[in-house]
C-alpha cells in the first residue's frame, strides 16, 4: 500500500516536470509573482462575497423557527424569485425584524442594501451611540441619510461592481474576439470569396438588420434567430450564383484593412464622455451600463488577438492543417485561436478594472445605476451631502480603490507571465 502510494507521487512529480506546454509555463510564471497571486486570491474572495452577498448581508434570517415550524427565508426568497414557490401568508409583506421567533439564525450582517433603519438615520457614525438592541445589530460602518447600513451596501455593491466588470468585459470579449480573429487570421489576402458571395453578404446584411429590428420588440433571441436565417438564405443564394461565370471568380476581401480602420475610429472616440451621455439620457439600467461599456472597450482585446494571430497563422502547424484541407473557420477556432488567447487575459484583467472604475464613476455622478441599489459610487457621492460623514467617504472609496488595484495587479502579473515584451 505504502509502496504504491509513493509510486504515484513519483509519477505525478514526473508529470509536473513533463508539463512543458504553454499554459503550464504561464501558470508557473504567474505564480512566481507573489503580488499578482495574492491579488488573484483576494479577487476570488471578493467574487465569493459578490456571489453570496444575500447570505452575508440580508434583512431576513437564514433559518428561523416560527410558530413551531422551521423556515429558511433566504433560500425561500430565491425560490420565490425563480417563480417556483410563494410566500406563506404569515410572511407576505412582513418586516422580518418584528416577527417573534422561537429561534433564528441571522446572516453576519443583518441588513440589506435596501433596508432602511429609521431609528439610526440620518448619518449615524460607526462608533457613535446607535439605537440598537445589542452589538449584534450594530451598523459597523455606520448608516447613510436614509438609514441604509453602509456595510450591507458595500457587500451588495461588490456584486454590482463584479457584475458590471465581468459582463461588460464579456460583451467586449465577444466583439473583440470576432473582429480581432478575422482580421488577424485572414489578413488582407487569405479570405477569398467568390464575387457572388461578397455581393450577397453585402446585400443581405442590412436586410438581416432590418428583420432583427422588426423582431426585436417580440424577443431578442427570436430576432437573432431571424437575422441568422436571413444571412443563411443569402449565402445559399450565393451558392447558386457560383454557377454564373463572372460571379464565381474569387476575390480576396481586405478584412484586415477594414477592421483596423474601424478600430482606429472607435479608439478615437472619447469613451468616458460617450458612455456618460448615453447612460445619462436614458432611464437608469444596469444592463445599459454594461452594454455600453462593452461596446466601446473591445478594441484592446481585438488588437491583442490580431497581433497574436498574425504571428500564429504563419506557424507550421497551421499550414499543415491547411494542407490537410480543413475548412478555414475550423482551423481558426480549433487551432489558431486557442494559441492566441493568452494576451487577451491581460486586456480582460485591465478591462475589468476600467469597467469597475467607470461604473463607480457613473454611480458617483448619479447616472446609469438605479439609485436605490446604493452601490459604492453612490455611497461615495452621498458623503458630499454630509461632509461630516467620513465613513461614507472612506469605506466605499477604499472598496473601489482596492478592487481596481487588484485587477490591475493581476493584469500586470499576467503581462509579466505571458509576454514580458508587452510590458513597456
Amino acid at each position: 500500500m505504502l509502496f504504491k502510494k509513493k509510486n504515484k507521487k513519483e509519477d505525478s512529480q514526473e508529470k509536473k516536470e513533463l508539463e512543458q506546454g504553454y499554459w503550464p509555463y504561464v501558470r508557473r510564471q504567474f505564480k512566481k509573482n507573489k503580488r499578482a497571486l495574492f491579488s488573484l486570491y483576494f479577487v476570488i474572495f471578493l467574487a465569493f462575497i459578490a456571489v453570496f452577498a444575500d447570505f452575508i448581508a440580508n434583512d431576513k434570517p437564514f433559518m428561523c423557527q416560527y410558530k413551531g415550524s422551521f423556515y429558511f427565508p433566504i433560500f425561500k426568497e430565491y425560490a420565490v424569485a425563480a417563480g417556483v414557490s410563494n410566500w406563506q401568508e404569515d410572511f407576505r409583506n412582513v418586516n422580518w425584524y418584528d416577527l417573534k421567533y422561537d429561534m433564528s439564525i441571522w446572516p453576519p450582517i443583518p441588513y440589506k442594501n435596501t433596508t432602511m433603519d429609521q431609528d439610526n438615520a440620518p448619518f449615524v457614525a460607526p462608533f457613535a451611540k446607535q439605537k440598537i438592541k445589542s452589538n449584534r445589530w450594530r451598523h459597523w460602518f455606520g448608516t447613510n441619510k436614509l438609514g441604509n447600513d453602509v456595510f450591507a451596501c458595500m457587500i451588495h455593491g461588490t456584486r454590482i461592481a463584479f457584475l458590471v466588470g465581468i459582463v461588460s468585459m464579456g460583451i467586449a470579449l465577444i466583439i473583440g474576439l470576432f473582429f480581432g480573429s478575422i482580421s488577424g487570421f485572414f489578413g488582407d489576402d487569405r479570405l477569398q470569396l467568390s464575387r457572388g458571395k461578397v455581393i450577397m453578404n453585402i446585400l443581405f446584411f442590412p436586410l438581416a438588420l432590418f428583420y432583427f429590428s422588426r423582431f426585436f420588440s417580440i424577443s431578442f433571441f427570436l430576432a437573432i434567430l431571424v437575422a441568422i436565417v436571413v444571412m443563411v438564405i443569402g449565402n445559399l443564394i450565393a451558392k447558386l450564383l457560383d454557377y454564373v461565370p463572372y460571379l464565381k471568380d474569387k476575390i480576396s476581401v481586405p478584412v484586415d484593412i477594414i477592421v483596423t480602420r474601424f478600430i482606429e475610429i472607435v479608439v478615437s472616440v472619447p469613451v468616458l464622455i460617450l458612455v456618460l451621455s448615453v447612460v445619462a439620457v436614458f432611464p437608469p439600467s444596469i444592463f445599459l451600463v454594461m452594454g455600453v461599456i462593452g461596446a466601446v472597450r473591445w478594441t484592446g482585446i481585438a488588437r491583442f488577438i490580431r497581433a497574436e494571430l498574425l504571428r500564429v497563422r504563419s506557424l507550421e502547424y497551421i499550414e499543415a492543417a491547411q494542407v490537410l484541407g480543413y475548412p478555414k473557420w475550423y482551423i481558426l477556432f480549433k487551432h489558431a485561436l486557442p494559441n492566441a488567447l493568452a494576451p487577451v487575459f491581460i486586456a480582460v484583467a485591465f478591462g475589468i478594472a476600467a469597467a469597475i472604475l467607470i461604473e463607480s464613476f457613473l454611480s458617483f455622478l448619479g447616472f446609469g445605476i438605479p439609485i436605490e441599489l446604493n452601490t459604492w459610487g453612490q455611497l461615495l457621492t452621498q458623503s458630499r451631502q454630509a461632509p461630516d460623514a467620513w465613513w461614507l467617504a472612506i469605506f466605499p472609496g477604499l472598496a473601489i480603490f482596492v478592487t481596481v488595484t487588484l485587477f490591475n495587479l493581476i493584469g500586470e502579473g499576467l503581462t509579466d507571465a505571458i509576454d514580458p515584451r508587452l510590458k513597456q
Binding site: F210, S268, P270, F364, L365, L380, S383, D388, F401, L409
Partner: protein, 480 residues
C-alpha cells in the same frame, strides 16, 4: 509626411460622423419631450388655455426643426408612413407607429387618427349641462386616452367606455353619438383591412438634405451651436464662459505632469531594484489605480471642512473672494493670484496625479528598455560620465513613447475634468456637460461631446506629427 497627415484627417471624417450620428440619435430617441420642457406647461382647465398652449407648442416645435425628418433616409417597412415626423405630439407618433406595426395599413390608420382628432374636438366643444358634466369629463379623459392606445384589446375597451359615457350624456342633437360611430367605423376599417405582412417588406425612404441631422451638423460646422434649452442662452456664449477654466487647469496639469513624470520615471529606471525604486514604483502604481473622484471627495471632507481641518476653500475658483477683497482693499494682482492658487490647488492635484502616475510608469518602462541596449553599454565602456550616458544617450531615445502619450493624456484629462469640476464646483466644460445631462439639454450635450471628440482627434494628430519629428526613422509613407 504630408500625405500621412492627410490620411489621418480623412479618418477623422468617418469618426466624427459616427460620433455625431450616435450623439444626435441619442437626442432623438431619448425619453422625454424637449419641447414640453421648454414651454410653460399648458393650463389644464380651460379650453382656450389648452388651445393657446397647443399653438405655442407647435411654434416651438417648428422652431426646433422637429417637423423635419431625422436623417437623410430611413430604412423602414412598406407599411410605415414616411411623413410620420409631421405629427407633432411625440406620444401620438409612438401610438401611430405601434398601430402600424400591429395592422400595417397606413391609409386606414391615418383616417382613424383624423376621425379621432375630429371626435376629440367635438367632445371638447360640447356644452354639457350640469347633470352630465361628470360623464362629459370622463368622456374627455377617455378620448385623450385613446391617443395612447394601440393594442386592439385596449382600443376596443376604450371605445366601449366612450359609448357607455356617451349614453349617460344628455345629447339631444346626437353630435357625440354620430361622431363616435364614425370613429368606431374608422377603427373597424383599420382592423378589417389589416395588411400586417407589409411590416416585413423593407423599404427605403429618401428625404434629401432637408433633415434635422443635416441642418444641425452644417450649422455646427459653421460654429452655430444653437441655443440651450435650459436658460435659452446661445451655447457659443456659454462655452466661452466655461472653457477658460477647463483649458487653464488642463494645460497647467499637463505641464506639471511632464515636469514631474519624466525625472521620476528616469530616476526609478536608473535606480532599478533599489529600495527607492520599489517605493516609487509602488506609490505610482497605487496612484494610478486611485479613483480621482475618491481623492477629491476625501480632500473636500478632510481638508475643507471646519469639522476636521479647513485648509482650503470648498468650492469655486475664488471669483467672489477676489471681488470681496477688491472692494475692501482695492485691486492687487498678487493677492488675486494667491486667492486663485488657493482655490485651484486641490483640483489641480486631483487633475494631475493620475496622468502623472501613468506617464512615470511609461517613462520608467521605456527607459529600462533603452538602458539594456548595446549602445548604452558602449557609451559606458567609452568612459562617458553616467550623467551623460543617461540623459544624452538613454533619455533622448526613451522620449519617444512619452510624446505619443500626449494623445492619450489629453482626452483623459478632459473626461477626468467632468467629475472634478462637479466636486469642486468649478465653472468649466465638464460641469456644464453634467448640468446639461441632468436637464436633458441636448444642444449642450451635442456641442460638448463633439468638441471633446474633435479635441481628442487633434491630440492624436499632434502626437503623430511630433513622433515623426523626434524620430527621423519614422516616415509614415511606406508604412504597412
Amino acid at each position: 509626411m504630408f500625405r500621412y497627415i492627410l490620411k489621418r484627417i480623412l479618418i477623422f471624417i468617418p469618426t466624427l460622423f459616427i460620433i455625431s450620428f450616435v450623439i444626435f440619435m441619442l437626442g432623438v430617441y431619448a425619453p422625454g419631450d424637449p419641447v414640453a420642457n421648454m414651454i410653460s406647461s399648458p393650463g389644464e382647465e380651460s379650453a382656450t388655455d389648452r388651445m393657446a398652449g397647443e399653438k405655442e407648442y407647435i411654434k416651438k416645435w417648428k422652431e426646433l426643426n422637429m417637423d423635419l425628418p431625422v436623417f437623410y433616409f430611413t430604412i423602414s417597412s412598406l407599411a410605415d408612413c414616411d411623413t410620420l415626423h409631421k405629427i407633432y405630439r411625440k406620444a401620438h407618433r409612438e401610438t401611430l407607429s405601434a398601430l402600424t406595426s400591429e395592422h400595417g395599413n397606413w391609409n386606414q390608420i391615418s383616417n382613424y387618427y383624423e376621425e379621432l382628432k375630429k371626435y376629440e374636438k367635438k367632445v371638447l366643444a360640447f356644452e354639457a349641462d350640469s347633470a352630465s358634466l361628470k360623464s362629459w369629463g370622463r368622456l374627455r379623459d377617455y378620448a385623450a386616452n385613446l391617443y395612447l392606445k394601440s393594442k386592439p384589446k385596449d382600443v376596443d375597451n376604450n371605445i366601449k367606455r366612450l359609448e357607455k359615457y356617451t349614453d349617460k350624456i344628455n345629447d339631444s342633437l346626437n353630435i357625440l353619438t354620430t361622431s363616435l360611430a364614425q370613429l368606431k367605423a374608422s377603427y373597424d376599417g383599420v382592423v378589417s383591412q389589416s395588411t400586417s405582412w407589409k411590416n416585413y417588406v423593407p423599404a427605403i425612404n429618401w428625404y434629401g438634405l432637408k433633415n434635422r441631422y443635416h441642418i444641425w451638423i452644417t450649422r455646427f460646422l459653421q460654429f452655430d451651436f444653437g441655443i440651450s434649452y435650459q436658460d435659452k442662452m446661445p451655447i457659443a456664449l456659454k462655452i466661452k464662459d466655461n472653457i477658460f477654466w477647463t483649458m487653464l487647469i488642463s494645460i497647467i496639469s499637463i505641464i506639471l505632469t511632464y515636469i514631474f513624470a519624466i525625472p521620476l520615471g528616469v530616476f526609478s529606471a536608473v535606480k532599478k531594484g533599489t529600495v527607492a525604486d520599489n517605493v516609487t514604483t509602488t506609490i505610482l502604481f497605487m496612484l494610478y489605480s486611485l479613483p480621482s473622484f475618491w481623492i477629491a471627495t476625501l480632500f473636500l471632507i478632510f481638508l475643507c471642512n471646519p469639522e476636521y481641518i479647513q485648509l482650503f476653500p470648498t468650492n469655486g475658483v475664488g471669483s467672489e473672494a477676489i471681488e470681496r477683497a477688491t472692494e475692501l482693499h482695492g485691486p492687487s494682482f498678487f493677492r488675486d493670484l494667491g486667492i486663485r492658487i488657493h482655490h485651484l490647488i486641490l483640483p489641480l492635484i486631483c487633475w494631475t496625479y493620475g496622468s502623472l502616475a501613468f506617464l512615470s510608469r511609461q517613462m520608467r518602462g521605456g527607459m529600462l528598455g533603452v538602458l539594456k541596449q548595446d549602445y548604452i553599454r558602449t557609451a559606458r565602456a567609452k568612459g562617458l560620465p553616467e550623467n551623460k550616458v543617461i540623459w544624452k544617450h538613454g533619455f533622448r531615445n526613451s522620449l519617444l513613447p512619452i510624446i505619443t502619450l500626449f494623445a492619450n493624456i489629453f482626452p483623459l484629462m478632459i473626461s477626468g475634468s467632468v467629475v472634478i469640476e462637479v466636486i469642486f464646483s468649478i465653472p468649466g466644460m465638464g460641469r456644464m456637460l453634467v448640468e446639461g445631462m441632468t436637464s436633458q439639454d441636448f444642444p449642450v450635450i451635442f456641442t460638448i461631446v463633439m468638441m471633446v471628440a474633435i479635441l481628442t482627434m487633434i491630440g492624436y494628430l499632434i502626437a503623430d506629427i511630433l513622433y515623426a519629428f523626434v524620430d527621423p526613422r519614422i516616415t509614415y509613407t511606406n508604412k504597412k
